[in-house]
């Protein structure tokens, strides 16, 4: 296994004194789909921001597999909200990372390809406000993938969507992950979503966040509705839910 990024004893204290993370050790390997699961406020978003380089750890280190720091465009981030530029068309939004990183001349083709992959072929010229919440999220995912990043960071991307849309996007995401062979770090509140998507689930403790449990989900891919309704899935959900309850110092009846 090749590590893509390693968090070594990472701590994060905010200027107002809040200690969000303490002694967080986590290695993400190439090709993995890792979910960060934990109670609200345990520092999942903070951990993601540290990996993305949008904040600096106040202790420990974030180490990249390649040694140095990732090049611009080697990282894709999908935020909890779609975070699109309302003044720009869907195509222009997806193209933004290419423009900012001064990338290839075949941008048009790349953008069209990404839009097709997330199922938004006909919407290149639409504006974000003309799309549904789920479609906006797809645009956001297409944008994150357009630079062909090594690592994709997703912060509760589907939390605001209804269950039907969420299942559909979960499936679309898994397809993309398998096709493109990316490494994904996925933050979620949902035990069920985490088990369905991940190859590995990292359960975090309440603030200050640390790793409480690291659970491999060995179920084979592709996963579909059969997996979602299978006995092993239910058993895994129970194991993870117990680990989460344990991390929070409660016991599951």
């Amino acid at each position: 296994m090749t590590p893509v990024v390693t968090l070594r004893g990472v701590g994060k204290a905010f200027p107002n004194g809040t200690l969000a993370l303490q002694n967080l050790d986590l290695t993400v390997n190439r090709g993995e789909f890792v979910s960060l699961l934990g109670p609200s406020g345990c520092g999942k978003s903070t951990a993601l921001r540290l990996i993305a380089g949008l904040a600096r750890p106040s202790g420990g280190a974030v180490v990249w597999g390649s040694g140095g720091t990732p090049a611009r465009g080697d990282l894709g981030v999908v935020f909890q909200e779609p975070t699109l530029m309302p003044w720009a068309s869907v195509a222009a939004n997806v193209r933004l990372p290419l423009r900012l990183t001064h990338r290839p001349d075949n941008a048009e083709a790349l953008v069209a390809d990404m839009l097709a992959r997330v199922g938004l072929d006909g919407f290149a010229k639409a504006y974000p406000r003309e799309l549904s919440g789920g479609m906006r999220m797809r645009v956001s995912i297409a944008r994150a993938l357009v630079t062909n990043p090594e690592l994709l960071l997703m912060d509760e991307p589907f939390a605001a969507l209804d269950e039907i849309t969420r299942f559909r996007l979960d499936n679309a995401l898994l397809d993309l992950w398998q096709e493109l062979g990316k490494t994904v770090v996925f933050v979620t509140h949902s035990v069920f979503e985490a088990v369905y998507l991940s190859t590995r689930i990292v359960v975090m403790t309440p603030r200050p966040g640390r790793v409480a449990a690291d659970i491999a989900i060995d179920a084979p891919f592709p996963r579909g509705e059969t997996f979602r309704t299978s006995a092993p899935y239910a058993a895994l959900c129970r194991t993870v839910a117990q680990a989460l309850a344990g991390a929070m110092g409660e016991s599951l009846a």
Binding site: R49, A52, G53, L54, R72, G73, L75, V77, F79, E81, T83, M85, P86, W87, A88, L96, P97, R99, L100, T101, Y127, P128, R129, T147
Partner: protein, 272 residues
Amino acid sequence: MSAPAADETHRPWRDRLARVGLPVVALLLGCAMWELLVWAYAIPPYELPAPSAIAATLVEDRALLVESLMATLATTAQGFALAVVGGAGLAILFSQSRWLENTLYPYAVILQVTPVVAIAPLLLIYLPQPLAVLACAWIVAFFPMLANTTLGLHSVDHNLDDLFSLYGASRLQRLVRLQIPAALPMMLAGGKIAGGLSLIGAVVAEIAAGSAGAGSGLAFRIAESGYRLNVPRMFAALLLLSAAGIAIFAALSFASWLILRRWHESALVRAP
């Protein structure tokens, strides 16, 4: 503003008629009563001219009045344009240098809170009259542009800001692709205010200049007609000034709607 006409297409026609019709009916009734009063009490035109007399003056003096209107509008437009360029430009400079903002912003506020009526006479001493009038039209419009653009440039979505950092955007990329588009709605709102204020600034300066110079704007006509007790012409000029103000506001509102209609909530047309 709301989309002109567009959001009304969904309304029943009666609603629409009432919205346009009622004010017009009220205006006609008011004018009729005014006319009647002037006629019944035989009020002389130098005390209160009848609407018909004002209309007649409007037609008779049209050459003079239109020339004056054009002069005032030209000053207003120049003052407004300079204010937009200067206000937005300075705000952009401020956004690049907190140090500069802290140094100069207080003076922009002082410029704003000092009544332009009080500054005009001073400007008239130091500047040739047309320039002084222009300066007044500029001063009052400058601050709304500066303040609104500054606010707009600061109100960038934090996640979008992070996204630009993630891809290592340069300052220029951030400014052009993120901050200015994000500020656009606020800038346009500032522009709508600034346009009307430019007219006010120009009028104030013309009035302050009074008969002193060779002014030729509408406000100058009002002052001049006042000295000559040509009250109908005063009213006619006033009417044109109001119309100019309305036209400026409508034009800027339309421009704003045109620019924002594809993406901004303020220009959103909702189905009923």
